[in-house]
Subunit: 397 residues, 2 copies
Amino acid sequence: MLTNVERLHELMAQAELDAIIATSPENVTYTSGFWAMSQWIRRGPQAYVLWPAPSRGDSCLIVSSSALDLVADQNPWVRNIRRYEHFVVDRAPDTILNNVDQRQAMLHQLPDDADPLNALCTAIRGNGLDRARIAVDEFGLLPGYFEALQARLSACTLVRGFDLLRRCRALKTGEEIARLRRAAEIAENSIAAALRVARAGASEIDLARAFHEQTVREGGFPVLGCIGFGPRSAMVNVQPSGRKLQSNDVIRFDVGGRYQHYRADIARIAVLGEPSKKLSTYYHALHTGVRCAYDVVRPGAAASDIFLAVVNAVRSDGLPHYQRSHVGHGIGLDGYDVPALGPSSKDIVEEGMVLCVETPYYELGLWGLQVEDMLVVRHDGVESLMSTDGGLIAVTE
Amino acid sequence: MLTNVERLHELMAQAELDAIIATSPENVTYTSGFWAMSQWIRRGPQAYVLWPAPSRGDSCLIVSSSALDLVADQNPWVRNIRRYEHFVVDRAPDTILNNVDQRQAMLHQLPDDADPLNALCTAIRGNGLDRARIAVDEFGLLPGYFEALQARLSACTLVRGFDLLRRCRALKTGEEIARLRRAAEIAENSIAAALRVARAGASEIDLARAFHEQTVREGGFPVLGCIGFGPRSAMVNVQPSGRKLQSNDVIRFDVGGRYQHYRADIARIAVLGEPSKKLSTYYHALHTGVRCAYDVVRPGAAASDIFLAVVNAVRSDGLPHYQRSHVGHGIGLDGYDVPALGPSSKDIVEEGMVLCVETPYYELGLWGLQVEDMLVVRHDGVESLMSTDGGLIAVTE
């Protein structure tokens, strides 16, 4: 299961909620396991999960009728489904339907609730929650829908719910960690595939294609592919261009796709030929910063303390002027989950968080360097999700 | 240029606007040419384009400081840039910067406007628009930002702007059509690549990987990949599974990635071995429906009339019980642009629109069939963006 049910109920109790409603793609998938394609690939399509507090009713998934096939196929654990909008699917006469098609046929027989808010209100009232205190994830609603929902449920107290769900998502379940582990592995394998085509004259685009092809080949889906050579590696979000690889170029990868909807985000640096003294020194310091995180990240550690420890480790190992706004973040269904490893972060690290720890350094005109690892916070420290150690990679000319 | 400037100014004049503000990824890219990565791959990061009416000031692009590298690299035509948030980039001493890095260095010297709304208000006031009537694209703003902006600009009249920009995007410029043409071509080539691995025993996932790999190889980015065999082809949004291809299976493709941010969305049907009589008859009727669109789509045609003509063509050619909620839609930066080819649509077809015309048919327990072509509305009719004619594809066993 993706949902950390214990944590969710704890946060809901703290906020004195009778129910919470997920509306954004990440939160809908998180609370139901259901992946509503249209909601993920466009902005606007509506899918919701109503999640009542314990003993306040049953969870309900609300989807467009045109997405009922995905409900039937994915068969999420949420048993109550409400649908909205007219959609026609015929049925072959005299044909025995398989399980998935039987489910789909049954789902199409559910009443049509006409529009998403109507479906949601019906689910809320059906659970006797029409005078309840309900948090509504404000991120996935169409503009004006939060107010429209409040108007329809005039006896309910609606509060914003996105932040609570985001905080809940910070502590990963075993299933989530398994997906993140595989996402990280695919990203590492895709870097290796890209480096196999790295030779003088290959372009950034050549490496990016090799990278994304490997991601697809391993069952991942491309998302992030910042790959830059030489001075272009100093661009934070560098998008692959026709720039050709030359001797002594830095190759910076800040990359990661999705695996079963979960993100990877890692960074590695390679050099074609021999690294300069300055590069080796700086890179060693940045790598020391990430290795320091392996020592200081543990349950109970303050994110701001981790930030200071990592930045100081970089500074004292050979990059004394190192400055950063953050040295990492959580990762999961979203690329930036809780916690934020920044100087003014109030987050406290907890067991079960999955973190990206990173120490990027950008020097315009020269290169950008970056080490970024994904790791899991365990009760006694951390477990790396990486199979490579983040050292500088030498590509022979 | 991506923006249809003439059309935008016409729509702004009709709505008596002094300015319009783009906030959602599609509209920011559309009005500036600028692709703000973080805004496209996550939900929440803010980037805006302020577009004043003619003689009411200069356009302004508002981005996070961490995205200034992309501004420098893409060098969009909008000359005024405002940035927000602290972000550190060092500069190599004694190094001559190339043009891109010089631009980036200059951009980092711009004042830090602290947060996106402050940056936007500064741009609005800088153009003397602090008592203006301004449409604000409500789709890309963080929840509450529309109201916060109105509070900060108390002498302005703010109205919603998403719909106006969406209507503007309906009439494509030459550059947009060129990108859509290439996106369609990549999708067709990717179907061909998938069919090259289609043999008894190959899985839906095998075909999907071949499909997306080809998309990546040709410079596209995977988005939509509904590929289903046999009864699974009757699932509207079918997600590739381990189901293996068998004799006489239908293979349904409803697919398309992005090319330079522009979407493809096409459908083709193949059969392993010999199609049944019913399949051939039904498919012919569906194909006749799409071919009918080539005859009836032209500037001035009502979308609802096109819908009727297409549905009637399918019905009279061998599928008398055919029912649909729509037979197509516009396509561009978004997968569903204006117009909607549905029975109650008020849209009128205009020259320069790019349409997906489709006649899907789903029969649970048997198969789903679908023809979907992309075409451009020209002054005297339509131009197809397809190189294949949409006939049933026979895969030899």
